[in-house]
Symmetry: C2
Subunit: 191 residues, 2 copies
Amino acid sequence: MPSMMGRLYIALLHYPVLDREGRVITSAVTNADIHDIARSARTYGVRRFFIVTPIAEQAQLVRKIVGHWTRGAGGSLNPTRREALEAVEVAGTLEEVIEAISREESGPVNTVATGARLKDSCVSHGHLREIMGEDSGAYLFVFGTGWGLAGEVIENSRYRLEPVNGPGPYNHLSVRSAVAITLDRLFGRTG
Amino acid sequence: MPSMMGRLYIALLHYPVLDREGRVITSAVTNADIHDIARSARTYGVRRFFIVTPIAEQAQLVRKIVGHWTRGAGGSLNPTRREALEAVEVAGTLEEVIEAISREESGPVNTVATGARLKDSCVSHGHLREIMGEDSGAYLFVFGTGWGLAGEVIENSRYRLEPVNGPGPYNHLSVRSAVAITLDRLFGRTG
């Protein structure tokens, strides 16, 4: 396995994200996001998958779901799901995520903002793969729920990743699909 | 857009598929599958996405969900979701899907079986992309729910697609993620 494998992190933000009209909101945690992204993360060697919500009840809900599959009845029933969900952590803010990673990694945490509508100063998947191949630092990919990351998150990120596009103009993948494709473009074997 | 764009079809099978112990079962339709795969299909130029279930009540449930987002209140609320779900159709069997495609396409329907555990005589994503680039026929990608397609479906397919793998041995993506990655490997722009 490539040496980068331990340096990959994902954060799924429920705040600050945008709604349909571009207002900053807090979105609700979705069960399918937890499971699908945890499984994609495990497949592509992501060290930890942070679910970020400032709402205590939502954080508690995530911990309950994850606990069911890692320590509870679900874990013995479905070991592969347990293995995926063991990498899930809950955080209140993106800053907390960066602090948590900083405590176990040397050097800066390179944040990578993602989004279907990013346009300016984007790095391509191929270029980012090259950058990461020559660097031993930690990389945190930040995904937004709702209608995408708020401007402040994008502006404060080290990199902005080019959007995942198909051959046509339609670009409304679920965040679950966008995470899967992004990880595969960067770290998957391609035939 | 490439000329192949009109020739792509997807079928998501709920029968015959396998359970954890390898028995052939009928799985239940999942709401997230409908939405996520419809959005991925629309993004990558899939002409139609067939949801295959032999259970009449399940077929009716899918029609109700799709109707809500295409003709009901959901369609005006969320036009991009409507656009995705307009390509969804329900069928009772894989044979019905092939017949439906045959009625509007000339030549054979090339079925492509997919699965995380396919091993023998698989075509790579790159090779299949080449094959499709030189052929004007219809291609139907068949995905299984549960623990994957039953043996008979794999055996009767024209092609078997190599599994989507990450850098390590873990291979338990959701079918939603597997569809997204497969379409991106075959038809996405790569950076």
